[in-house]
């Protein structure tokens, strides 16, 4: 009886909203005069049609997972870390800075620049934390403001001090020397370092959040900050730590974008993955082991929808429609469910 109930709940939480999102996207497709079946087929092929495409999906998955893991900390602590996007951008800036500054062999330069991206992201998140805790600026507004600042800073660097010799262009800074590029699997955009870092992030987050006193404290603070304070927990310190972990992981994600994918700093270095990761975490909550597969689904949708303009002359933003519809319908069903529960009482 109880098992059935749990199963029914899962169904309600996953299948129904997913179907609703597909239905909505199909309607949008029909309205645009395209066959939904053909479009979904193309998206599948676009995501998994070849070795290269699989690799591309994983290339998008790595930053999504890193940001998602980071967000799991702030989410658990009850913080809305919208600033994740800016933290990611700062990570890319941090990595680029080290690449431009140091002349080192690859095995030293890459760790140094990844470390720098971690620190840059973490420091940027602490700015939001300071504004939140000492300035009483809500972290949503602090984060949003800092995101714009981060974009401004990137553009300033690309068109100012770090511009390409000759003329500055939107295409970004000079391409990194080969010792500053992450190694990849023969000809693919993907390499072992990114995968390794993503795996480590998942492991670290799972252990910290589920198996340590620190994770339990964040959980307590997120659920009831005041009661946690009365219990004697050090609220500020734990919130700062959660923010720093989130910023650090997002920073590494940004660093990987620069070191592994674009091999330079470009204006939209984050590809919006920070914001997308917020959607992922909205779907999963801070259940770490769910973040990875959901992020994978999102990555597949992004890459798969790139096929749409090529094959069907549809805009690739349809992928975004599907993602957005999915998040909204999951939240909708969650809302309906809690309302039903309330009425039952």
């Amino acid at each position: 009886m109880r098992m059935e109930k749990v199963l029914a709940n899962r169904l309600l939480q996953l299948l129904l909203p997913f179907s609703l999102a597909l239905l909505f996207t199909s309607l949008v497709l029909l309205w645009a005069g395209a066959s939904p079946i053909e479009a979904y087929g193309n998206m599948l092929r676009g995501a998994f049609g070849s070795r290269e495409k699989w690799a591309d999906v994983l290339v998008a998955w790595v930053p999504l997972v890193l940001c998602g893991m980071g967000l799991a900390f702030t989410f658990t602590a009850g913080l809305w870390n919208i600033g994740i996007e800016g933290q990611m951008i700062l990570g890319a800036i941090g990595a680029t800075w080290v690449v431009r500054l140091l002349q080192l062999p690859s095995y030293l330069l890459l760790p140094a620049s990844i470390l720098s991206s971690l620190l840059a992201g973490a420091l940027w998140s602490l700015v939001a934390g300071i504004l939140r805790i000492y300035g009483k600026v809500h972290e949503i507004f602090a984060g949003l403001g800092l995101n714009f600042l981060a974009i401004g800073l990137t553009n300033y660097l690309i068109f100012g001090p770090w511009k390409q010799p000759g003329t500055a262009t939107m295409s970004g800074t000079e391409v990194f020397p080969s010792q500053a590029q992450l190694p990849n699997f023969g000809g693919l955009a993907l390499g072992p370092v990114e995968i390794g870092i993503a795996g480590m992030a998942i492991g670290l987050t799972a252990i910290l959040l589920r198996g340590t006193l620190f994770g339990l404290k964040l959980n307590a603070i997120g659920r009831n900050r005041h009661a946690a304070f009365l219990m004697g927990l050090r609220i500020d310190r734990n919130l700062f730590t959660a923010l720093a972990l989130a910023g650090g992981m997002a920073g590494i994600a940004g660093g990987i974008q620069a070191l592994g994918l674009f091999h330079r700093l470009i204006p939209s270095i984050s590809s919006g993955y920070g914001y997308l990761a917020i959607l992922v975490v909205l779907l999963t909550g801070s259940r770490v082991l769910w973040i990875a597969p959901v992020a994978f689904f999102f990555a597949a949708v992004i890459k798969g929808s790139l096929q749409l303009p090529i094959e069907m002359h549809l805009d690739s933003s349809l992928g975004g429609v599907l993602q957005g519809a999915l998040v909204l319908s999951v939240m909708l069903f969650r809302g309906l469910q809690s309302r039903m529960l309330k009425e039952k009482e």
Partner: protein
């Protein structure tokens, strides 16, 4: 308009706030609704004015059954309520607040509003500047504004919830004069209060509620002892009390003042000895919570000093108080004391000292199992705290306290608990006392205060008005002191 409430029932979870209440209000009278905290007075009036829904029963206006689903609907029927904390918009000006809720016209006609406001205010003897932002008014003036606003909206039944809390004596006089004038003009006025003095001065009839039920209806003039007895139930005579040996002073207060936005606790000088139990009596919101939080280090004293075992703690943070062996258990167990969504074991892991960084959940579960047994908590180590009953939540809170405590500060230690749970909580508390912990607790239950304390503090309006030895005090006397008499 004649208002009838018939067999109104309203439960919050397992608490029956209104348990079949009948009340009839006739035009042109001032009614009193008397009862101690939690008796169900405010709930009943919030139901009548549309702020709360009710479970069963009916409301009739002039013999017609009406459905009131929102405050706006109640206003349309002519019922308006002045909440204990005025529901105004501090950022807006007086006249803007006055105009809020007008249903006619789209344009905000400030000039006409000001004229109307002045007319109403003068009629009642109120006086305020229409252009001042509400945030600059006193509580009394905000009340007056709210009354004028409700009357201008056509209210025929005016309900006031504890209107004399936090206002000055002259404002009280003005208010009472205005209310009498309104009743003479044919309005119905309902005064919700737990102050005997208010009721005796103003109300021609009074209905007394206790534990969600009407226990008496009287007409003026009243016998004070009669009112007290109805409010608090049978008052037992003095009980012999066991003497306990007291130790050295652990808490000393010298001209100790704590401030909050609305309330300023005036200087308290007090010395509490190890093993002493002190009960704090007073109408809710008279400064008891502020006082306890000040003693817990949650609020810095605005002046004066606080010493723990001789150490000056006046400027020390809360964490330092905790490490000196001070514990504070707030009244809202589930909102402040415990964290919903976490299990008993997780609470233990968080609250005890020396939990290791990597959690050993098995060990903690065993430890919790043994505490569950010794504290008689009905629940499992993996039970989430929100599924425990009130008594079990309170025992769980006590089970998480550290072994050695200097000072235990509690708000309403047995509020909402049944007799059995109350007894077991006090058994645990008295054991602490024998170990030398000083206990300060606030309670609305006068019997509890008289029976359990060595000394009693009475608070009213942010003032500690009296210190008395419990053995020389009866609950009856205490009730009168709280009601503002016989100080």
């Amino acid at each position: 308009m004649k208002v009838e409430l018939r067999a109104i029932r309203k439960a919050f979870g397992s608490v029956r706030a209104n348990d079949g209440v009948n009340l009839t209000l006739e035009e042109g009278h001032i009614y009193g609704l008397l009862g101690e905290n939690g008796a169900g007075k405010t709930t009943l009036m919030k139901i009548l004015s549309g702020f709360l829904s009710f479970d069963s029963g009916e409301i009739r206006f002039d013999d017609e059954v009406v459905a009131i689903r929102s405050p706006a609907e109640a206003l349309r029927h002519g019922v308006g309520m002045l909440q204990q904390d005025p529901l105004d918009f501090p950022a807006f000006s007086v006249v803007e607040n006055f105009l809020l809720g007008w249903r006619k016209g789209r344009r905000l006609d400030r000039r006409r509003g000001k004229d109307l406001l002045r007319k109403w205010a003068e009629g009642l003897g109120f006086d305020f500047d229409p252009d001042l932002p509400v945030s600059q008014l006193t509580v009394g003036e905000r009340q007056q504004l709210e009354i004028v606003r409700l009357l201008a909206l056509g209210v025929k039944v005016l309900i006031l919830d504890e209107p004399t809390t936090g206002i000055s004596l002259s404002q009280r006089e003005t208010l009472f004069r205005a209310l009498k004038a309104l009743a003479e003009g044919g309005k119905t006025v309902v005064l919700v209060s737990h102050k005997l003095q208010d009721i005796e001065e103003l109300c021609s009839r009074v209905t007394i509620l206790r534990k969600g039920k009407v226990v008496g209806e009287l007409a003026a003039p009243y016998r004070t002892e009669g009112l007290v007895e109805l409010m608090f139930g049978q008052i037992p005579s003095l009980v012999p009390r066991p003497q306990a040996a007291l130790g050295d002073p652990v808490l000393e207060l010298q001209d100790f003042c704590v401030e909050e936005k609305r309330l300023c606790l005036t200087a308290v000088t007090l010395s509490v000895r190890a093993g002493e139990v002190i009960g704090i009596a007073g109408v809710e919101g008279s400064g008891q919570r502020l006082f306890l939080q000040g003693c817990a280090g949650l609020r810095r004293p605005s002046s004066g000093r606080i010493f723990l075992k001789g150490i000056d703690m006046s400027a020390k943070p809360y964490g330092r108080f905790r490490s000196e062996g001070v514990a504070y258990l707030p009244a809202n167990r589930l909102e402040e004391g415990l964290i919903s969504g976490l299990t008993l074991t997780e609470h233990l892991l968080l609250s005890r000292k020396g939990s290791s960084f990597f959690l050993d959940r098995n060990e903690a579960r065993e430890e919790m199992t043994s505490r569950i047994r010794s504290f008689r908590i009905v629940g499992e180590p993996e039970t989430r705290v929100e599924f425990l009953s009130g008594g079990n939540q309170q025992r769980a809170l006590l089970s998480f306290l550290p072994d050695r405590l200097t000072l235990l500060l509690m708000e309403h230690p047995t509020r909402g608990l049944d007799i059995e749970s109350t007894r077991s909580v006090w058994t645990l508390l008295l054991k602490r006392r024998e170990e030398g912990t000083a206990i300060l607790f606030s309670s609305a239950d006068l019997d509890e205060i008289v029976e359990r304390s060595d000394r009693i503090l009475v608070f009213s309006g942010g003032r500690m008005s009296t210190i008395r030895r419990a053995e020389e005090t009866s609950a009856q006397q205490l009730g009168e002191m709280i009601g503002g008499r016989g100080l």
